[in-house]
Symmetry: none
Subunit: 216 residues, 8 copies
C-alpha cells in the first residue's frame, strides 16, 4: 500500500475557537454527563492558554438567556478577542469574528461549541468551505442527545473535518514533553482536566518525598 500522508496539528499554525460555551446554553447539552462536560469546556479553553495559541472567543447574545461564557474561560483569555455576536448564528457570518480569525494568519483551526449541530457544525462547515483544516474537539461540544451529536459529527466528517478527543488534540499540539509547553505546563493541565493522569503524577511525586516500599 502506498504511503498515506499524516495530517498533523501544528501549534504554530493553528487558531483555537471557543464557540458559544455559554452558561445558559450549557443546559441544552444533554449528550454528556454535566460534570464531565463542564470539565471539557474548561479544558478546551485551557488549550489556548497552555499552548499560547491565538484564541478567538465568541458568544451569541450573551446578555440574554444564553448567558455569558464561564468566568473561568474569560479569566483564561482576558486578552483574547471576544466577539459578542449580536445575532449571527454561524460565527463565520460575523465580520469581526471572521477578521479575528483571519488576522491570526493560521491555516488550522481547533473548535468546539454548543450546540454541536448548530454552533459547531455551521462554523466548521463554513471553515471547510473556506479551505481551513478543521479539528473538532468532540469532548467539548454538546447537544440535545446522542443521536444529534452523531449526526452532526458525521456531517462534519463528510466535509473533511477531523473529529478528535481532547487528549489527542493536546498531545498532537505538544509533540514533545520538553517543548514549551511541555511537562511543567502540561502536567498541571492534565492534573486539572484528566484526573486519572493527574492522580498518577501526584502519587508519583508523593512517593519521591518519604515514600516507603510497597512490600513487593
Amino acid at each position: 500500500m502506498p504511503p498515506v500522508p499524516y495530517e498533523r496539528l501544528d501549534k504554530n499554525d493553528v487558531v483555537l475557537l471557543v464557540v458559544d460555551h455559554q452558561e445558559g446554553l450549557y443546559q441544552l447539552a444533554r449528550d454528556q454527563d454535566p460534570t464531565s462536560f463542564k470539565n471539557n469546556i474548561l479544558a478546551h479553553a485551557a488549550l489556548g492558554k497552555v499552548f499560547n495559541l491565538p484564541t478567538v472567543l465568541t458568544t451569541s447574545e450573551e446578555t440574554g438567556p444564553n448567558g455569558p461564557l464561564p468566568r473561568e474561560v474569560l479569566e483564561m483569555h482576558s486578552n483574547a478577542p471576544l466577539i459578542k455576536r449580536p445575532g449571527q448564528v454561524d460565527a463565520w457570518d460575523n465580520a469581526d469574528f471572521k477578521a479575528a480569525v483571519k488576522a491570526t494568519g493560521k491555516k488550522q483551526v481547533i473548535l468546539a461549541g454548543i450546540t454541536t449541530d448548530v454552533c459547531t457544525a455551521f462554523l466548521a462547515l463554513s471553515l471547510r468551505a473556506e479551505g481551513y483544516t478543521v479539528f473538532a474537539n468532540s469532548d467539548a461540544s454538546g447537544t440535545f442527545d446522542t443521536k444529534t451529536a452523531q449526526d452532526a459529527n458525521d456531517r462534519m466528517r463528510a466535509a473533511g473535518v477531523h473529529v478528535l478527543s481532547m487528549f489527542a488534540v493536546a498531545c498532537e499540539l505538544m509533540r514533545d514533553w520538553r517543548a514549551t509547553p511541555g511537562a511543567p505546563e502540561m502536567m498541571p493541565y492534565f492534573d486539572r482536566y484528566l484526573p486519572q493522569y493527574g492522580f498518577l503524577a501526584r502519587a508519583h511525586d508523593a512517593s519521591l518525598q518519604g515514600g516507603t516500599p510497597s512490600g513487593l
Copy 2:
C-alpha cells in the same frame, strides 16, 4: 484536503411542505413519543408561519380514516394552498400539488410527513429527481418504528437529501437573531416548541424583574 462547499438553507429560496400530518395517520407513527411528535408536527408548520415561507399543505383522502390536518396547522396556514389529494400517494403525482410547488419558484424544499417511509420519502425522492435541494426535518416525520425511520432517512440521504433536526433547520433559516424573523419571533417559537430553551429564557426574564442574587 481541498475545500468542501457548504450547502445552506436560504429562507428566500425555500418552500415548506406539510405532507399528510393528518390526525388519523398520526396514530401510525410509533417511532416517537406521541407528545413530542405532536409538538414536532406543529413546530414544522410553524416554521412556515414564523419565516413567512411559501407553504403548501397536502392531505391524502382526508374525509376517510386518515382524518384532517390538525386545526392548529390549518389555522396557521389558512391562506396556503391545501391540496386534498384524491388518491395519489406520492404528492408529486398530483398535478395540483406539483403546480403549487412550482408556482413558488423556489429551488429549496423543507418537508416532513407521515409516514416517513412513504409520504415523506416518496415525495423527497421525486423532488431530488426534479433537481430540488431537499431538507427533511427528521423530527417532524414519523413512522411505524425506529428501524423504518432509519431506513427511510438513509434512503433519502443516498439521494442527496439533507436530514436535519428541527433546531438545525430553524437556525439555518434564521441565520441572525436580528433578522426578521429574529429574537422577537423565534424566542416565542422556541418557548413553544423547544421548552428547554424556552424555560431558560423565561427564568432569565423573570430574574430581570426582581430577581435576587443566588448566594454565589
Copy 3:
C-alpha cells in the same frame, strides 16, 4: 385467596400539591424528554383545575436561580395558596405550607416535584410519617438521571407511597365520564396533555355522521 381491599383516590378527600416545578429547576431534570416533562408538569397542575381540587403550590426561593413556577401553572391556580418557601427544602418543614395542607382537611395527597429524590421524596416521606395516604404522580417528577428516579420511587414505595402515572391518577379521580368533571372537561384535558387520545377524539369529531361529539 381472601379479598384484598382497593385503596382508591377520592376526589372529595384529596389535596393536590405542586412542589417546586420551577422554570430553573426544570433544567436539572434529565430523566425525561424535556418536551414531555413540561407537558407532564402542566398536566399535573391541571388536575387541580379540572377536578377543582384544593391545591397548594409551593416554591423554593423563587426569586433566585430556581425561578418561578411556569406562568401556565400560576394562571391555572391564581387563587390557590402559593407558599413561597423562604428556605425549607422539605415543604413540610414550612409552617404555612403545613397549615395550608391541613386546612384542606383532606386525608389523601397527590404530589409531584423537582427533584424527585429531594423535593418529592422528602415531602412524601414526611406526609407518610404524618399518616396521609400519598399518591406520587411519577410522570410529573424529574431528577438527574433514571437511576436516581428509580431509587427515589423505591424509597417512597417502601414507605407506602403509591407511585402512579398521570392517566391512572386522572381516571381514578374522575371515575365517571358523566360526573363533573367528566367528558366535557376531561376530553379537552386529554386533548392537551395526552395527544394520542386527543387526536382520536378530533378525528372522531371530524367524521361525525351519526356519532356523538367527544366533548372536545
Copy 4:
C-alpha cells in the same frame, strides 16, 4: 396504611468519615467516570467543611502505593483527625479511629471510600453492628466494576445502611436554605460539585447585572 416514620439526617448528630480516598487507590475505581469520581470525592469531603461536621479522615498505608489523600481534601480538613492506619483494612479495627469517631459523640455516620466492597463496606458493617445509623454516599465510593459496586451496596443495605446520592445527603443535612450553612455556603458548594445547578445560578446572577430581555 399506618404511618411510616421518616429516618432523617441530623447535622447536629452526625460525623463524616473520609475513608481511603487515596490518590493511588483512586486508579482501582473503574465503575465511574474518573472525572466525575474525583469531583464526587472532593464533594464528599466538602460536606464536612460546609456543614462544619466533625470529620474523621483515615488512610491505609499512605506512604506506600495507595498514596496520600488528595491535597484538596487535606486542605479542607487540616484540623480534623487524620488516622493514618498502619495496617488495619477495616478502619473500625483501628483503636485511634474508633476513638476519634466515638469522641464525636454522634449517633449518625456519613461515609464513602475506595473500594466500595472493602473499605466502605467493612466499616459500614462494623458501624451497623455497633448500632450507628449509617448513610453511605454512593456517589463518592468506587470499586473495580459496576457489579461489585451493586453487590457491595446490596450487602450494606441488607444490614440497614442507607445508600444515598450526594445531593440527597447534602439537602437532608441542610434542610433550610436560610440555615447556616444555607444559600451563601451551599450555592458555592453546588457551583463547584453540581455544575448543572451552578451554571443555573451563574446565568441567573449574570442577568441581574445588565441582562436584556430574551424577546419572549
Copy 5:
C-alpha cells in the same frame, strides 16, 4: 416441602369479561405489535364463544372517540349482555354491569381490556376486593408503554390477580381435547389465533389427502 394447592380455572364457574376493547382506544395501546394485539383481542372474545362461557361485554362511551367494539367481537357475542357504560371508568361502578356479572353466579373471572392500567386494573382490583378469583389474560390487555403494562400487572398481582397468557387460559379451561369444547372446536380456534399451531395442523391434514410419502 408441604403440598401447595393448585388454583385452577373451571369453565363451569367462570365468567368472561370483555372490557373496553374498543376500536378507538386500540390506538392507545403501544406496548404490543398492532397486528398481534388485534389478534389477541379477538382471541379473548372467542374464548367465551368457544367455551360457551357466560360473557359480559362492556364499553365506555362507545358513540364517542373510544368507538365501538370490533364487529368481530360483537358478532361472536350477539346475545351476551353488552353494558354500554355511560360514564363509569371502573366497570364495577356500573350497576348493570355488576348485576350482569353477579347474575352469572360464577366465582371466577377472566378479563382483559384497554388500557391495562385503567380499565383492566381498576376492575380487577374491585373484583378482588369483592372476593372473586381473577385471571387477567395479559396478551389481550394493552396500554401506553411496556413500563406502564408491567406496573399495572404488578399492581394486580399484588392483589392476588393471576396474570396469564391466552394459551394458558385456553388450555386450563379446556382441560381435555375430548371435552366439549375439545379438538373440533379448539383446533379451529388455535388455527385462527395461534397460527404456528394452526399451520401445523393444516400441514398435517394436507398430508392425509393425496399426500405422498416423504421418502424418510
Copy 6:
C-alpha cells in the same frame, strides 16, 4: 446462621416423566435453538434409560397434528408405559397416567414437556398439590418465547418446584462416577448430549492411542 437442609435427587425414589415431547408440538417451542432443543428432549428421555428410572411417557392426541414422540424416544423406552392421552391437557387428569405414576411408588418426579407453560406447568402444579417433590428439567421444556418460559418457571418455583439444568439433574442422580450408572454409562451420555464435555473426552481418549506430545 443455622444449618439449611439440602433437598436432593435420589435415583431410587424418582420417576421420570416425558410429557408431550411430540414432533408436531416441537414446532411451537421457539425459546431455544431447534438443534439444541431436540438434543435436550433426547437427553431428557435418556436420563430414564441410563439411570434405569421408572419412566412414564405421555402424549396428547398423537395421531393429530401434535404428532408422535420422536422415534428415538420411543426406542429408548419401548417397555415403558406410554399413556396416549385421548384428550386431557394436564396429564394428571388422566387416570391411566396417574395410576402409572403412582404404581412406581416414588416420591420424587423429574419432568419436562412442551409447552412449558401448559404441559409442564399444569402437571407440575398438580404433582405439587399431591405432595410430590418435583424437579423440572428446564433444558428440556420449550414454549412460545422466553418471557412465557420465565413466567412458567416462576409459577412452578412459587409452588416449590425445583427448576434445574440437565447437567445438574444428571449429576445429582449419578452422585458417583463409580456407581451404576457411572462413568461407563454417563460419559457416552454426555458425549451425546453435552458435546463440549464429550469432545473433551474424545480428545483425551485419542491421545491415549498414539498421541504425540503437543510441544509444551
Copy 7:
C-alpha cells in the same frame, strides 16, 4: 434500626477448598474470560498458600478427560491432602474428603470450583446442611453460561452461603497489612493476581529509586 451482627472471615478458623479446578473441566467454564478465569483459579489456590490455611484439594476422576489440577496449583499445595475422588460428584460424599475437612477442626469454609452449579453448589449446600459457615469465592468458580452461574449463586445464597469476590475474601482474611501475612506477602499476591494494584505498587517502588518529579 437495631444493630446487625457482622459475620466475618477468621483466618484462624477457616479451611480452603479447591474443588475440581481441573484443566479439562476448565474448558466448560464459559461465563468468564479464559485469561481472567485461569488467573482467578490460581489466585484462589494461592489464598491457602499465602494465609497458610489448611487446604484440601480435590479432583474428580482426574486421569480421565477432566484432567489434573494445573501444575501451578499442585506446586503451591504439594503437602495438602489431595483427595482424588474416584467418583463422587459432591465432594462431601467422599469419606476421605469429609475427614480431611473435619480434621482441620475449622468452622468456616472458603470454596470455589468447576462447574459452579454442580461441583461448587453441591458441596456448598452439603456444608451448609452440616452447619458450616460457607464463603464462595465467586471469581474462581465457572460454568456453562452466565445464567447458570447466577442461578447457582442464588441457590447457594438461599442456603446462607456468602458469595464474595476474591478481593473481599483476601482482605477479610488479612484484616491488617502488618499481620503475617501482611504487606510483604500480600503485595506480591496482588501483583500477581490483581495487576491493576500490582502495577500501582511497582510504579511506586520504581519512583523510590531514581524517580524524577512529574512536573506538577
Copy 8:
C-alpha cells in the same frame, strides 16, 4: 471484482515495536479488563522473543509517573535497543528510535502501545507516511474508553494500518507448525498467553502419561 493482494506478515521482514507499555500509563487503559490487558502486553513483547524478531522498545519519560516497562518485558528483551524518549510523544520524532527501526532494514512493523489514540496512532500514522506496512496488535493497545479505542483504530485503518488480534499476528508469523518457531516454541507461548489453548494441550499431555479411558 479484481484480485486483491493479501498483504501478509513475513517473520523475516518485520520489526516489533513495544511502545510505552509503562506500568504507570497502564492505569489509563480502561477499555480492557486489567488482568487481560497485562497478559496482552506481555504476549506482545513475547512475540519478539519467540520469533526472534528485531525488537525496539521505547518509553516516554519513564522516571516520571509514566513508570518503567514491566520487568517481565525488560527481562525478555535485555539486549534490544530501549529508547527512553526524553520527551517526544510520537516515537518517530525521536532520532534514536527512528534509527533503531531503520537499522533493522525491515519493511513491516508490528506495534502496540498506551494509549491507543496517542502513542499507538501517532506512530502508526508516521510509519504509514514513511511507507511501512503496519500491523497494530489491537489486544495490546489500551486507552480511556471503548469509543476512543474505536475512533483511533478507525483513524489508523483509514491510513492503511492492519488492526489485528494477538492470535492472528502470531499465526501469520508462524505460518506452519513445523517451522521454527513451530509447535515446540509456540505451544508454550500459547500456554502462557492464551490459556484456553494451553489447558487443552496440558490435558492432552497429561493423558499421555498414565491416562485412563474416559469410559466412552
